[in-house]
Amino acid sequence: MADKRLSLDELVGELHSGMTIGIGGWGSRRKPMAAVRAILRSDLTDLTVVSYGGPDVGLLCAAGKVAKVVFGFVTLDSIPTDPHFKVARQTGAVESMEVDEGMFYLGLLAASQRVPFLPTRAGLGSDVLRVNPTLRTVVSPYDDGEELVAMPALRLDAAIVHVNRADAHGSGQILGPDPFFDELFLGAADRRFMTTERLIETDRFATEGALQTMCISRLLTDGVVETPGGAHFTACVPDYRRDEAFQKEYVTAAGDGDAWTEFSRRYLDVDEADYQAATATPSGEVSK
């Protein structure tokens, strides 16, 4: 069986400027933040980011990596909005495709199934159709004749998700209560990457959780990277909860130029090992 293990740098090396990149997780939950931080350190630019948005979107916007965001929301969950994304939108720094979060799901599903669109009521009558003039409706070919939104496939050049456990062959295990849409991000993408809290032997999955938690098959992945604490500061239950104190620090720093420079110096202009050290508690125990 193929050994799909990569380093973070190797993962980023597979990405190119101008790509459309899907990022798994939801809001400020189980985001592949180590990979996002690695992108921040790279010279990648002009990306289209497709995300159930959280701080991944905010950080990438703040670093000038983003040309366009495809989203239904961008939220930090316990804090309603991301400050960097707000600035990016309000200054017109990024282009946007804003759709209903169910339309977003159907766009990923259509891409996964290799069909051009999927029909839905979601979007009808709303400004989603006004602000996305390329969206089309479709008339049912059956007797009902209903006119529905034709949500186009959200095809991705690459996707990155973060899971609790994975093996070297690219099977992944999500131990938290919600797998979100990670499978569909991977299914919609040409190049598929998974970061994980811990790489384990395949025969250990069954001791970690029930069969249903083994929800990412190796059919869906090209590369896997072990990144302990790799979702920090977003939640990665049951391994750790959201680091609310750090998230507040992020939001506070984002509102102030000098504070943001200092935040970047301490946490972003450093490699992943130094980031993990800088965000660990003094006792050495990770404060997540």
């Binding site: 929301f73 839905t120 009521r121 009808l124 709303s126 400004d127 006004r130 209903e146």
Partner: protein, 256 residues
């Protein structure tokens, strides 16, 4: 038997939110904001025993836990991750109370952005599920700060779809569309008029129609006789105060 004296404004709002769920049987209640969250639980414990509540994460819960009850104390009855939430939304077996940063005369709601969408004055959270929710199942709104900034002639970005916009979009949009209520800190509103424009359904005790008109950026339909919002029964008041919101979170959302 009611308990008119000593009932807070927040408690009237909770009862008004609970009433949104009356008569719906076995549907999934989703409720954003404190008064809606307590209201849905109150309905579940009293007149809507078949209502299905969520834990706010990825499960359905049995009973009606207090606000902020530790996860370990909840009795879970089913798995409800986001992907399955959409199955419920699109099946129509859901009744939702969302918040609204702006709401207008025909029930359009905005949570996306203030100002011009292409370069907004203020970026909000995003349309979220509002477009799909409103054309698939019953939706109501909770506005804890009724003012001319929240009740506007036209919302800036139509996120949740109101009656006129649904009608324009055609039968596929109107088929399962119902904006049932708007509950604010001042009163309760509905769209039970021939033109489907917003009507005063009841005023909370202590609020005048004049105050409501002054805080609203468009002309409301005002019937000849506008009742006061129903008071909680003694049983309901005990449930609100002792069981569902013992820490008094409701008074932080709505003052007085």
């Amino acid at each position: 038997m009611t308990a008119d004296s000593g009932v807070s404004r927040a408690e009237y709002c909770i009862v008004a939110c609970a009433e949104v769920f009356r008569g719906d049987g076995e549907v999934m209640a989703s409720a954003f904001g404190t008064a809606p969250a307590v209201g849905a639980r109150l309905a579940r414990l009293t007149f809507a025993p078949d209502l299905v509540l969520t834990d706010g994460d990825a499960a359905l819960v049995d009973g009606a836990p207090a606000l902020g009850a530790p996860t370990s104390t909840l009795v879970l009855e089913s798995h409800m991750p986001y992907r399955k939430v959409f199955d419920v939304v699109w099946s129509g077996r859901r009744n939702l109370i969302m918040m609204a940063s702006q709401i207008d005369r025909t029930g359009n709601q905005n949570i996306s952005a203030i100002g011009d969408w292409s370069r907004p004055k203020a970026q909000l959270v995003g349309v979220r599920g509002a477009p799909g929710n409103t054309v698939n199942h019953t939706t109501s709104y909770w506005v804890p700060n009724h003012s001319t900034r929240s009740f506007v002639e036209h919302v800036d970005v139509v996120s949740g779809v109101g009656y006129a916009r649904a009608r324009e979009a055609g039968p596929a949009a109107t088929r399962f569309h119902e904006i049932r209520r708007v509950v604010s800190n001042l009163g309760v509103f509905d769209f039970e008029t021939p033109e489907r424009s917003m009507r005063v359904r009841s005023v909370h005790p202590g609020v005048t129609l004049g105050e409501i008109a002054e805080a609203t950026g468009f002309d409301l339909v005002v019937p000849d006789d506008v009742p006061e919002t129903r008071a909680p029964t003694l049983e309901e008041l005990d449930l609100i105060r002792d069981v569902l919101d013992p820490r008094g979170l409701r008074d932080r959302e709505v003052k007085q």
